[in-house]
Subunit: 221 residues, 2 copies
DNA sequence: TACATCTAACTAACCAGTTAGTTACATACT
DNA sequence: AGTATGTAACTAACTGGTTAGTTAGATGTA
């Protein structure tokens, strides 16, 4: 009987593992069901942990959700900042940024769902989104703006207003994943297959390049 | 006592008014709180009607939500189809379409929230989205595709693949409203003010034109 | 022993949906 | 004309199941 105990996650060694398991389970549950739809029981079950343990490590459901936001947003920020720091000329750096951002979303389905859900929440309660925006979006926005400025000065890019261009760009990168569920239904194909993703990645780079580069389009030999 | 009665909505006259009041209240509530977050009590209160009346007119919460989807989606479809039917050359017709779609979203905040929430739901339960897509999105997609083809044949547009270009275009049109809550917080301006909306509308048309038109950009005198 | 980690069992609040009617008015019968 | 009967429209009050969060205590470890 005491031997069976050792199977359980609880009580034994690494408490960090329990915390991490809860957080990971919470990311999945919040992404799948949204904040209002997420069930704390489901999170506990999926983390193989007693529900009360959620409240031992996190104040309440909302605080757990805050931790989830930090978890997922710190991921993109790191990936994107790394891409933008590459020592490359503007055109290539832009392409690397787009690819990186695109691939991050493609390989982290939870991330995209959580961002969208949070944008919806922001309408009613902007406080959380304000923090996230300051901490994670603003640095990305600044770096991309700097890249646009650099490209305009070197003559590679049209001069554009970042405040309009950056959101437009991001929308083209991200929207594919928003519409993937219906695309799947309408076309019968799987929009998340490697081939389709490669196709789309190319189309996104083409679309943004066409909108931004000074070089006349359709002229790459 | 009998005189007071005439104030109430119930029992007497126009039952259509009650149904419409419920539907309208439901649009607002579902848009504000999402499907999981929406409360039937709140809908009833906001419609000034007893909760049981929701179940008199609609089977259950889900059916009411179906009716809400039809209500909001039939609106865009009508507006957009009308714009696309204008007897104009491709470039102008595209601009009219973009403006119309943009303005519809701008003046129907509930619509945008419901679309986004529904896209999120579609990941888990595509059945509802399948119906909506067939009935409302497909016609729009077809009309815009036809316009793109026509423009390519007349030499006004680059030849593009609608399956990639149409979603990209719509993303640029719509994404502004998704990010409006944080923009408001980050910039301190109201993104929904008439001036900002006019700005953004112009930026959207510029972005899409740059990505699509064969005419070299930056050359409008 | 002292402390951190963890749990079974509980509770108070909430919420979708139901029930058992009431009200106002129309139509039919006398 | 007056009265019974039918019915669409509507409501107050309830129910059963769910859910976030708590409590009191058990378990392992140093």
């Amino acid at each position: 009987m005491a031997a069976l105990r050792t199977i359980r996650l609880g009580t034994r060694g690494k408490p960090e593992e329990s915390r991490a398991a809860i957080l990971k389970a919470a990311v999945g549950e919040f992404a799948r069901e949204g904040v209002a739809g997420a069930r704390t029981d489901a999170i506990a079950r999926s983390a193989r942990v007693n529900k009360a343990l959620l409240y031992y490590y996190f104040k309440d459901k909302e605080s757990l959700y805050d931790a989830v936001l930090d978890e997922v947003f710190s991921g993109v920020r790191a990936a994107v900042q790394n891409a933008l720091a590459q020592p490359l000329p503007p055109c290539e750096r832009l392409a690397v940024y787009i690819s990186t951002h695109f691939d991050y979303i493609a390989s982290n389905p939870s991330y995209h769902r959580i961002v969208n859900a949070e944008f919806l929440r922001a309408g009613r309660d902007p406080s959380r989104m304000r923090r996230v925006a300051q901490q994670y979006f603003l640095p990305i926005f600044s770096s991309v703006s700097a890249l646009l400025k650099e490209g305009a000065e070197s003559g590679d890019f049209r001069p554009v207003d970042p405040i309009h261009f950056v959101p437009s760009m991001i929308s083209v990168i991200a929207f594919y994943f928003t519409t993937a569920p219906i695309m799947s239904v309408l076309t019968g194909f799987d929009p998340m297959s490697p081939e389709r993703l490669a196709d789309r990645r190319a189309a996104v780079i083409d679309f943004i390049s066409a909108a931004l580069f000074t070089r006349t389009k359709g002229e790459r030999k």
